[in-house]
């Protein structure tokens, strides 16, 4: 039961970190609960559906179906996160100010909510497929003790969800005027990490050039298989043995988001009232 709990927890934990950041980044946005919940529900439903066709997916693209699919959804999430980031750059300051003025019950536009719902769905889908197949494997195996193992799986899901909640609570404890700065950096790192992972997956399957298979090896210092390594991998795209193209994709997305947000943030804001406040 404990082994099952740990395996399921590890997967849910990775998705949970992303959900926690999305929740904090959308703090104060009206109806974000509905969007995030829909994202999770879509992710779970997609995972179950995908698990049923896992064999067919594996065989697709001459055996590279899993890689192509995972890289595609990661890149989709990268685009969604980037869009949110640049949208926040033009609306974030006004949002933070209003939240300070009126407390946290502010109703704001939700143009970027759909993007964030997609990010949540992708995170849940990606890890969810593994959880669903793992639990299915336990359920079909005739060995004794399947029930306690499934119970362990359920506890693993709960524990993973708890981490996501704790991260969210921890982040929103940050004073409101700094919150969006912090979540902005977290989103930028998350997007860069996802782009890097997508590149590494495609290069790993020889679909794109790798530009060096191992730029450095820090597995002795911070192994990616450990809990901290896993957390950093999910949050900021940490890799203990990165490929050249992985680092390139990472830096490219990070640069675009940081520089892009600066440029947009410096531009006069669309509402005149906002532009005049200094």
């Amino acid at each position: 039961m404990l082994a099952t709990l740990i395996i399921v927890f590890r997967e849910v934990f990775e998705a949970g970190l992303i959900v926690g950041i999305v929740l904090a980044a959308t703090e104060g946005v009206a109806r974000r609960g509905v969007f995030v919940a829909s994202g999770i529900a879509a992710g779970v439903a997609g995972a179950a559906l995908l698990a049923a066709f896992a064999g067919a997916l594996s065989d697709a693209f001459e055996g590279s179906g899993q890689e192509v699919f995972t890289a595609s959804i990661l890149l989709a999430a990268t685009v969604m996160l980037s869009w949110h980031q640049l949208w926040m750059a033009s609306h974030g300051r006004a949002m933070a100010r209003e939240m300070k003025a009126m407390g946290r019950e502010v109703a704001r536009g939700d143009r970027s909510l759909l993007a964030m719902a997609v990010v949540v769905a992708v995170a849940v889908l990606r890890e969810g497929v593994e959880v669903v197949l793992f639990l299915y494997g336990i359920a079909v195996s005739t060995q004794a003790g399947a029930l306690p193992m499934l119970a362990g799986g359920a506890l693993g899901v709960l524990a993973g969800a708890l981490v996501s909640w704790l991260l969210y609570r921890g982040l929103v404890a940050i004073p409101v005027h700094k919150l969006f700065k912090v979540t902005g950096w977290l989103i930028a790192l998350l997007a860069a990490g996802m782009a890097g992972q997508a590149a590494a997956i495609l290069a790993g399957a020889d679909l794109i050039p790798a530009w060096g298979y191992q730029l450095w090896d820090t597995s002795w210092l911070l192994p990616e298989s450990g809990m901290l390594g896993r957390a950093l991998h999910a949050l900021a795209g940490y890799s203990d043995r990165p490929m050249g193209i992985q680092v390139a994709a990472y830096l490219a997305v990070l640069t675009i988001l940081v520089v892009g947000a600066r440029l947009i943030g410096r531009r006069p804001a669309p509402q005149p009232a906002v532009a005049r406040v200094s």
Binding site: A54, G55, S58, V129, E130, F134, Y136, G137, S141, G204
Partner: protein, 112 residues
């Protein structure tokens, strides 16, 4: 020589030897890899084929080799790995972490 230059460009885009050698084949049955110890040449990219002949899904994984791929019951997958430095690398079924095996990369020149 235009043709061979194009061929060279193709080889640079896709790592040399990627499809040349036969893959390392692993069969997964009753929570065991067979063989559970395999050898490959160091410094070369190679393929590993994993056949799951068991009744439950498995996830072939190795943090050392940077591979992670689901294998459904009765299915088979191929992953690419390497080039590796000489040494021993561990792989396992992530769904049954006690199911492990090792891959040893040996200096291909010294071996031959």
């Amino acid at each position: 020589m235009r043709l061979s230059r194009e061929a060279l460009a193709l080889l640079l885009a896709v790592p040399v030897n990627a499809w040349a050698a036969d893959p390392v084949t692993l069969v997964l049955l009753n929570n065991q890899f067979s063989p559970s110890e395999v050898k490959v040449a160091s410094g070369e990219r190679f393929r590993i084929e994993v056949q799951n002949q068991g009744s439950a899904p498995a996830e072939f994984e190795s943090t050392d080799l940077r591979v992670e791929k689901i294998v459904v019951p009765g299915g088979k997958i191929t992953v690419m790995a390497g080039p590796l430095k000489p040494g021993t690398y561990k792989f396992f079924d992530d769904y049954h972490p006690e199911t492990t095996g090792t891959l040893t990369a040996v200096d291909s020149v010294a071996e031959k």
